[in-house]
């Protein structure tokens, strides 16, 4: 009954999306306010129905109704409740339902909080959202219906893939989707602007908070996925340049570029045409990511060819939306008026440089991800494009980007003073040189590249801090004045500084982890001692335990440093009987930002167990960096300028409301 209700709600949501995608457009054409307002009510109603549908699927998973194919294939009655719920999006059908639910959520948010938008713009934006939603509802209903029943219900389910039974992966997909799908808003705004043929600074001010929100979620989502891979896959890697990861990195790079170009558009009314293009590209890359992960094309080009229903459907959606929006862009972009002038050395110029490098870096990732697929389709040759390719292309492009990063906030709009900016960055430059010199002396000719990279990171962080110090007149004025000025500083300025510093911090983590990572791999018997980076790990013994839906072998290590016992670490290996597969649960010991990482291999006949121990210096900075970036984004989002929004048309009723 629940399944049928959920299915029916989804069909109704499709109907509403179809109305939403047509009626408001007619209303905008005829100038009919009532018809344009249909967009608002249908968007909200659509959200209601798709939420009902999603709730129905969650209910089915919670009560373990194995008469539904989706529940049978991905759940097990013994699975903990948390993973019963998160298992909903641990499979294809459920994750697509989550995707459209989030799409409807964003549409609903625009409908609910977009009261200050011009009526026709809102109608257009919601109509475009309606098109996307309708396409994906159709996709779900036609090819991946999560509510299908089995004729003769089995007693027990097949269980969720054990590596997915983890809290990190439970939160990761929703975060990532909030990011992916959030960019649909800037896409809809861009298409609406192209349809209307009108775009101004106010447009950028409406779009920026949505883009920023999507970017924050995507940043956190990617970081979380990376941390999950680090501790769950059991060998301490945190980024593999796997196509699935690249699929999420590409929209992030384009979205970061979009954030920056939208600033230029908002402040200076320039780069309009480019910003529109970036909005379209960012969401297109999100769609591409969905296609890559969901069509099975990565699992195998042949699997895609033999079971083409889903893949071809998503490919059609992809071509329709990307092709359609780009054609519209080619047709209408010339109608948009060119914006303000600026010299190459200026804040605008710096932001253009940022865009240039980010989009180029994005393009190299794109090539590295799709080239093997294209080659396999065309010639049948199989190649793998791995980390070396991306290190050789992505790395060199990020170096100038980061070197230029501290300069941008110090340059004035329109015409900047590069020499002046350089002078104000002297302190940061000196800090970077000191860091390089110290590291060089300390490692004494070990790695030459690492100290330079850390120097760059220190330059970025110190540059962000000195920009703040400069603006608050810290060290120049009395502390009280500086405090007052710090409070008066726009939150967006703080946000920029935090986000930029976050990039530097992540870089330090990446460099330290890859350069000074030390490891011990060997087989150990009880009472054996392994030494890694000064730590001593003694294997106390191995015990067995029965979990809810797995058996677990736990090894206990006592960790000591200089004869002093620190803690006990208990890595384990879980065996999931239903699927006959096992997972490695690594044990982590955090010391500051560094971690000791222990994971287990197989046991041999004499009772010795294969053990992998890593010491990863400053590894946590890799994820603290993105968290700081997201925090900076959040600060920026709370900026008064963005909350107040674009100038509102004066209305009597509005004036009576309390101030925000």
């Amino acid at each position: 009954m629940i399944a049928e209700a959920g299915h029916y709600a989804l069909v109704l949501a499709l109907g509403l999306a179809l109305i939403q995608s047509t009626v408001p457009l007619l209303g905008a054409r005829w100038g009919d306010h009532a018809l344009m307002n249909v967009a608002r009510s249908t968007a909200l109603a659509q959200l209601l129905f798709v939420a009902a549908s999603f709730t129905a699927l969650v209910m089915l998973h919670v009560v373990s109704d194995f008469s539904v194919v989706n529940v049978f294939e991905n759940s097990h009655s013994m699975k903990p409740l948390l993973y019963k719920i998160t298992g909903v999006w641990g499979n294809h059908e459920g994750s697509m339902l989550l995707w459209v639910s989030i799409l409807a959520l964003f549409g609903g948010l625009v409908a609910a909080f977009g009261n200050n938008l011009p009526l026709s713009l809102r109608a257009h934006v919601l109509a475009v959202q309606g098109w996307i939603a309708a396409a994906f509802y159709l996709f779900i209903l036609v090819t991946s219906n999560p509510f299908l029943r089995i004729a003769s219900p089995p007693i027990e389910g097949r269980d969720l893939n054990p590596v997915l039974q983890d809290i990190g992966l439970a939160v990761h997909p929703p975060m990532l989707y909030l990011g992916y799908v959030g960019f649909s808003i800037s896409f809809s705004f861009a298409v609406a602007a192209l349809i209307e043929g009108r775009i101004d600074a106010a447009w950028a001010r409406w779009v920026r908070p949505w883009t920023l929100m999507a970017w924050i979620f995507l940043t956190l989502g990617i970081a979380m996925g990376s941390y999950w891979a680090y501790y769950e896959l059991g060998w301490g890697g945190w980024w593999f340049w796997d196509p699935v990861e690249n699929a999420s990195l590409m929209p992030w790079l384009a979205g970061t570029a979009l954030l920056h170009s939208a600033v230029v558009m908002e402040k200076r009314n320039a780069l309009k045409v480019w910003t529109i293009l970036l909005s379209i590209l960012t969401f297109s890359l999100s769609l591409l990511g969905t296609f890559l992960v969901r069509s099975g094309v990565l699992t195998s080009v042949h699997a895609f060819a033999t079971d083409p229903a889903r893949g071809v459907f998503i490919l059609l959606i992809l071509c329709l939306f990307i092709g359609g929006s780009l054609s519209l862009y080619a047709w209408r972009a010339s109608a948009l008026k060119q914006g303000g002038l600026f010299a190459p050395i200026s804040r605008e110029g710096a932001l253009v440089l940022n865009n240039l490098f980010l989009t180029t870096a994005c393009a190299t990732v794109f090539i590295g991800t799709l080239y093997p697929l294209a080659l396999e389709v065309v010639t049948g040759d199989k190649i793998s494009v791995g980390a070396p390719f991306f290190n050789l292309t992505f790395g060199p492009l990020f170096v100038p980007l980061m070197a230029a990063m501290p300069f941008a906030p110090l340059l004035a709009w329109k015409r900047g003073d590069l020499l002046g900016a350089a002078q104000r960055l002297t302190a940061a430059g000196i800090a970077a040189l000191i860091a390089i010199a110290l590291l060089w002396a300390w490692t004494r000719g070990g790695a030459t590249f690492a100290p330079l990279a850390i120097g760059l990171a220190v330059f970025v962080i110190a540059g962000a801090l000195s920009d703040l110090a400069d603006r608050t007149a810290l060290f120049r004025a009395p502390l009280v004045t500086a405090m007052a000025r710090a409070r008066g500083l726009p939150r967006a300025t703080w946000g920029t500084a935090f986000a930029h510093a976050g990039v530097g911090i992540a870089l330090i983590g990446i460099v330290c982890e890859t350069t000074w990572n030390s490891e011990y791999i060997g087989s150990m018997k009880p009472n054996d001692v392994a030494k890694v980076a000064g730590y001593q790990l003694k294997l106390d013994g191995v015990t067995q335990r029965q979990g809810p839906n797995f058996r677990e072998m736990i090894a206990q290590f006592t960790v000591s440093l200089d004869g002093e016992t620190l803690r006990v670490m208990t890595p384990s290996k879980r065996n999931f009987t239903t699927r006959g597969s096992s997972t490695t649960e690594a044990a982590l010991l955090t010391r500051g930002a560094s971690q000791l990482y222990v994971s287990l291999g197989e046991t041999n006949a004499e009772g010795a167990i294969a053990v992998r121990i890593y010491h990863k210096p400053l590894v946590l900075l890799i994820w603290w960096g993105p968290v700081l970036m997201a925090f900076g984004g959040l600060l920026s989002l709370s900026d008064r300028r963005l909350r107040v929004g674009a100038p509102k048309p004066a209305k009597a009723a509005r004036a009576l409301q309390p101030a925000e």
Partner: protein, 163 residues
Amino acid sequence: MTRKQRRLTMIGGSLAVLAIAAALVLNAMRDSIVFFSTPTMAAEKQIPPGKRFRLGGLVQPGSLVRGDNLAVNFSVADGSATLPVAYKGILPDLFREGQGVVAEGALDASGVFRADTVLAKHDETYMPKDVADALKKQGHWKDDYGAKPGAPAASAPVQGASK
């Protein structure tokens, strides 16, 4: 500067960055791309010792020999040819005899494949995609691999070990 000059500066700068990026990509394509072979293909192509490639196939049942200090020897077979593989380190959880595997490394002078990375794919069927494709092509694969594309929801479904 006039508007035209400014625009030229912009376009020139963008072209310069794009050219650098293209050079980087081409350079990286030449040096860091690794081809995939099955034992049969490796024999046909006569891959010289020292050239890195990815070897894929099934772990020959009964061929797994564990030595001291986590040294492992096994053979990779694809139905018509086998190739001995030597590896030192911990094998991934999903590694087992009779199942698909992908190893990256190079042949040594005696014709043994020295692997520095061994990968196994997380999937109900334990079959890395390259292996499944190659085996299908050679007609040694019956089960319909990939009937359920994209079973794991997100990141990095590849599990591996490298030393």
